[in-house]
Subunit: 424 residues, 2 copies
Amino acid sequence: MKILFDRPVIPGLGKKYVAIDGKFIVTVTDDRPEGEFDRVICCNNRLLMPGLYNCHTHAAMTLFRGYGEELPLHRWLQERIFPAEERLTNRAVYAASMLAAAEMIGSGIVSFTDMYNFNEETVSAVLETGMKANISRAVLSFDPGADPAKDERVLEGIRLFECCHGLGDGRVRIDMSLHAEYTNQRSYCEYIAHYAKANGAGIHIHLSETEAEHKEGIERRGMTPAEFFADTGVFDVPVTAAHCVWISDSDMALMAKKGVTVAHNPASNLKLGSGIMPLEKVLAAGVNVTLGTDGTASNNRLDILREMYLAAILHKGVNRRADCIAAGEIIKMATVNGAKSQGRADCGRIEAGCRADIILLDLDTVSNIPMYEPEYTVLFSASSADVRMTMADGKVLYENGEYTTLDIEHIKHELRYVCEHYFD
Amino acid sequence: MKILFDRPVIPGLGKKYVAIDGKFIVTVTDDRPEGEFDRVICCNNRLLMPGLYNCHTHAAMTLFRGYGEELPLHRWLQERIFPAEERLTNRAVYAASMLAAAEMIGSGIVSFTDMYNFNEETVSAVLETGMKANISRAVLSFDPGADPAKDERVLEGIRLFECCHGLGDGRVRIDMSLHAEYTNQRSYCEYIAHYAKANGAGIHIHLSETEAEHKEGIERRGMTPAEFFADTGVFDVPVTAAHCVWISDSDMALMAKKGVTVAHNPASNLKLGSGIMPLEKVLAAGVNVTLGTDGTASNNRLDILREMYLAAILHKGVNRRADCIAAGEIIKMATVNGAKSQGRADCGRIEAGCRADIILLDLDTVSNIPMYEPEYTVLFSASSADVRMTMADGKVLYENGEYTTLDIEHIKHELRYVCEHYFD
């Protein structure tokens, strides 16, 4: 299908024609491109930008949105989340993954990086809805004598990689995962690192989310959690490290050198009382930084525009400089940096030859006018309610409030049923 | 008109019938009240709560949304805002006030506390749209020899009070205003305090927004800005003090004793790099705290639900405790505390005898399900896009995306025209 976007405003590029053919952007031009189009989309009062990346989440945790509020991370996990997760089923995870996909698509997210359980259900949700995702089976290992090669979670992760990596013309990618330093044995880290390296997989981890975790890691290992992951070979493959609130300056340098991506989760880190990731320093160290929502249980939205706004204003406030971290940098974090972290070299940009992962925002809302500079409108006044179209690989997934690949009323009903029967 | 809200979820109260007659709530009951109603509103999947208060703004600054970004407060004011404000006209302020009213009504705000210029235009916007507001003429005085009794700004403020205070059955209230300590002479503060006390007016000020302002105030006066306002009699009347990022512990105690309201503006304070107001300490000191957006030039929304979310997560993060400041406290700041600060004793609560200032939020959205506790849904997942009705004094101002008291397309057109002709 050939589609022409008729002169939307594109941040950093101004007003252009954007033509797509099948799954790809073919031209971005000042003049109307030659040829016939199956559809021409009038983009008067529309802003066009790359689809957004949610680079750290647990999609199925929509089940636990608002469940166990106002508890610190450790108690929230131990007293509420872990016991509830014992009761998970395939049906619950599928329902919750579909709701998460709907929420993300409707707020302009085209791809997410997920760590959870019952992952084949999340894979199904991604394939059905037309989204993209890097999905991984969370591995936790508490028995120092256990053999990772015989661990059911590790084996599930490997089976997932073997069955699902690359499905949907690459829309689904499978990563390996280690939940965190404090929840894993060295042998498991080495085993997963070795498997990932041998098979070309990435690894998704939590890193230095809380001060206690970071300090206890140093006591336990004689090195920081980042140094531990480097030491066990984990950082020798593409890694997405979520949170990194408490990483040291030398951790930052190490991670920049190793090409580790930091997924910044400002809302979750604030809400759980974990602290504030030193974004300006991490960017200055040359680290690839992306944005994540974390699960809805600690956010409680899957809304990267909200994270962009938060990241934009939070670090200005904490560093007490209104010019701290330019708007364009935040937009990169939410788009091209995310694509890079997921191993999607042809995504995250509005350029000929790139995948047609595109969103349209409405500039004609009461809260988006006037517009002096599109970057600032995106960052400071736009919200997910302004998303008018979400397209992935050239396919429209959402347009003017309507989903094209999912039955939203059915999804909401199913999610409520599951929550009432399993978790109330 | 008699209206019955049929069993919405009300935070803190559960599911109730809420009946209104004319401008007032008459019953809040478990059982369906007797009698005939002109309208019964089915509130299945609806959350009902008091209309929100925006207790510090400059409504007409919608003109400057996104204008002069990434500058620190002092340069932003001196290089961008003050020169642009020299070019203000009645037409521009009216257009901008109408856009602001539309944005606020659409996001569930029923009343705002405003400090600006050409105030009669903002008064008109409030009267026409059905909102409520406390409006004041900003007074700045830089000439130590000037006589406040002959100052045009002071006289404008007094004329405004005499002409407009109490209009619209009390919907419009007029406050006096002193822009700030650093922008005023002692004689002006004393004069305004005296006038306000003699005439039963409140006073709206900016207080200790930046560290420089606070420290220079101490050097200039030999006392903190709060102590200066107390010393000049300003704190002897009801005062709303915006920002208070840098107030001292003894300032907090003083303000609690004097009954001064603090308007907390988390977004603006972060975005301008001013810092983070110590909310937990201010609440513990017993101060009445409300929320404000500040002008859109430094926010860039007029969205109290967004400020509520920010306030809720920011202080948990900064104080590193997930249980820092209960959800109910934030909801009070946005409702009943705001009504109190504006001298509206019969507003801000869902109770028989109170004014029918009511909003309905949609609980059946992809991002609001599941709901375990309504307070957390309001605070952490709801957004202004979920507002389905805004009612003030029993009159529906907005319902399901439609405004009943204003022509939104005309307002948007007029605002764009004004911006293009005056400020580009």
